[in-house]
């Protein structure tokens, strides 16, 4: 009896903590979304009130859709995030495979060198990066952003994936070799499917900072054609007047795609975590 009760008590405590944390994490998002549907006056009068027939107003969304090329911004953000993600996963996994699978001189040093980027923020090199992009004629292109984000995401990807790839059994890879697979096909058809949960983890960790980044779009690609959604939303934040309706609407819209991507990857993530336990 007592045992069951302590279990129940512990379970309640655990859930209380988790629920509190969830609420704290979700309330800002919730406030943004509800206020984006209200009139400016209602936002300031009662920030926490739900959108009602009395205060309901879509002016934020209409402003966003009329002013600036928001669809273009979205597309830019999507392009940059997806392309960077693709390259980070591809190159990260390939480097991780080489590091975990082959014994060669300098293997360990190479691994440490690649992991160094986790500790040194890429923003420290902003000036040099800008100079490089100017020299390469890549300023105000999405390519510049994709290159920078790929570089930014690779260290963590290589680090996590190489640890995971070490756990793939050697016999399995050798069975593939005897079955006649080339090293590339061993990588793509045997190893990649087995480290899919790790890939999902890396994808989530890589994707969110890229989508949310304001720094590099502002510096490397501030032109109208290459603006990302985060940068695009800034037009409504003025020095003297801020169009809160539009800002909140833009932010609400910006949440949607990243949420969808997250849901896709997190399913893999959870499957990966529970794969061993549920058998």
């Amino acid at each position: 009896m007592t045992k069951a009760r302590t279990h129940l008590g512990r379970s309640i405590a655990a859930h209380a903590i988790l629920i509190t944390y969830t609420l704290i994490a979700l309330i800002p998002v919730f406030v943004i979304v509800i206020n984006s549907f209200k009139s400016r006056k209602a936002i300031f009068a009662e920030p926490l009130a739900l959108p009602m027939p009395g205060n309901f107003d879509l002016v934020g969304y209409t402003t966003v859709l009329e002013q600036g090329d928001f669809f273009q911004y979205f597309l830019n953000s999507m392009t940059v995030t997806c392309a960077s993600l693709f390259f980070v996963l591809l190159f990260g996994a390939m480097a991780a495979f080489a590091l975990s699978e082959y014994r060669f001189r300098g293997n360990l040093l190479m691994g440490l060198y690649l992991a160094l980027g986790i500790m040194i923020p890429i923003r420290l090199g902003t000036v040099a990066i800008l100079e490089m992009m100017v020299a390469g004629g890549l300023v105000n292109t999405l390519t510049a952003l994709i290159l920078v984000y790929t570089a930014q995401g690779l260290p963590l990807a290589v680090f996590i994936l190489s640890e995971f790839m070490r756990t793939v059994s050697d016999d399995l890879k050798n069975a593939g070799r005897i079955d006649g697979l080339s090293e590339y096909r061993i990588f793509f058809t045997l190893v990649l499917p087995l480290v899919r949960p790790a890939m999902a983890t890396v994808a989530v960790f890589t994707m969110i900072p890229i989508w949310n980044d304001l720094w590099f779009p502002l510096i490397l690609a501030p032109s109208e054609e290459t603006k990302t959604i985060t940068l695009g939303s800034q037009v409504f934040i003025g020095q003297f007047v801020t169009n809160w309706n539009a800002v909140l609407a833009a932010l609400s819209l910006a949440i949607v795609p990243v949420l969808v991507l997250y849901l896709i990857f997190s399913r893999q993530l959870i499957r990966g975590i529970t794969a061993g336990a549920v058998k």
């Binding site: 399995l172 050798n174 069975a175 070799r177 005897i178 006649g180 697979l181």
Partner: protein, 381 residues
């Protein structure tokens, strides 16, 4: 599949093969020929290089020195896929994200075989191994024995020139192991494909191999890992050195040192000096290593048996008694060594620890080794 392997005469030859990791030798001077269609077993304790030798044949391990040929072709630098070998791993190494059917068919698909042919071969192999009920399951949903069968099936469908087995049965329980042992043996005889089988279990080696190569770790072996290669009975009847003598046979042969004077052997436990049969060439020194298998040591029960004893009679105290059912093993202390008596006792005659018993060792079936070289003494036929 019934016509027997590729029929291409896939013999395998090791010629002075060495394997070094950094500065450490793992395999030294391995020279051995595996004949076409033969079932060869590599056996030895862990660290003897048997798996390394097998992986060299597969092409998974580079060769530091020497030459390895398959079917007369030097394969030192050939990648695994060009060697026409199939391998069964101890961990089974099934592809976890594929169904049984996909696992078995995978090697053929990679080789771009027509789909219809793949289907026939998979069907045939799964019929032979009884895999039909699980073809659409993932390896995760199979028991150890079933996974082992899938691994066999995957090797079988390839119809390779050589089968390689790397301790395939060591993860199975004892009963299943005995069954699979016979099954693999039968399969190999039917297909007639050259096979190399690695195991640390001498029983497996004795029961399965056409010939057995006994390997030893270099620390014990010296010049070459290969201690002896021959048919199971050759190894059992005429072990060439103490290592093989002790390794082959269960329970193991007892080897102890005795004094020698002319052709007479003496030892504190001997009731009388024993005369070495004339076929043995006496060794140089005044010591000799004597080996006796438990099955050739007979207990002397009762006075009349003692009176009739012809051979070498030893006397000692019983240490422990192990009853196995079909036989009883009595460990007898002979002063500095233990001799095993492996004959049937009845309830009435079963000795207890502490009893002093006498036993007769079959002189004709003694094994004699030189204490210095550990090699078998020369003997005439």
């Amino acid at each position: 599949m019934a016509q027997g392997g590729s029929g291409s005469g896939a013999s395998i030859e090791f010629a002075g093969v060495h394997k070094r990791y950094d500065a450490v030798d793992v395999i030294r001077n391995l020279s051995l020929e595996i004949r076409d269609g033969e079932f060869m077993v590599f056996v030895g304790p862990s660290g003897c290089g048997k798996s390394t030798a097998l992986r060299m044949i597969a092409g998974l391990e580079s060769i530091s020195q020497g030459q390895l040929s398959i079917a007369g072709r030097v394969v030192n630098d050939l990648p695994p896929k060009e060697r026409d070998v199939a391998m069964v791993f101890q961990s089974y190494a099934l592809y976890p994200h594929m169904t049984v059917r996909e696992n078995v068919a995978f090697g053929l698909k990679v080789r771009k075989m027509p789909a219809a042919e793949i289907e026939t071969r998979v069907a045939e192999a799964s019929r032979m191994l009884g895999l039909e009920p699980y073809l659409d399951r993932k390896p995760k949903a199979l028991s150890g024995g079933q996974r082992q069968r899938v691994a066999l099936g995957r090797a079988l469908v390839r119809q390779p020139a050589v089968f390689l087995f790397d301790e395939p049965l060591s993860n199975l329980d004892a009963k299943l192991r005995t069954g699979m042992r016979a099954e693999i043996g039968k399969l190999q005889k039917r297909l007639g494909t050259t096979s190399v089988y690695v195991t640390h279990d001498q029983t497996e080696a004795m029961t399965m191999g056409d010939r057995i190569a006994v390997l030893a770790p270099l620390a014990e072996a010296g010049e070459s890992n290969l201690m002896q290669c021959g048919t199971p009975l050759e190894l059992y009847d005429r072990p060439q050195n103490v290592f093989v003598a002790r390794f082959i046979g269960a329970p193991s042969m007892v080897v102890f040192e005795a004094g020698r004077d002319g052709s007479a052997l003496s030892h504190p436990a001997f009731k009388a000096p024993a005369v070495i049969p004339a076929r043995w060439t006496p060794p140089a020194g005044d010591r000799v290593l004597v080996g006796a298998r438990p099955e050739h040591v007979r207990p002397l029960l009762g006075g009349s048996a003692r009176a009739q004893a012809q051979g070498l009679v030893v006397r000692g105290e019983v240490e422990i008694v192990e009853t196995l059912g079909h036989e009883v093993l009595v460990h007898m202390d002979i002063g500095g060594g233990t001799i095993l008596i492996g004959k049937s006792f009845t309830h009435a005659t079963l000795p207890a620890p502490g009893d002093v018993v006498e036993a007769e060792v079959d002189l004709e079936r003694l094994h004699l080794f030189d204490p210095a070289t550990q090699q078998r003494l020369a003997e005439g036929v």
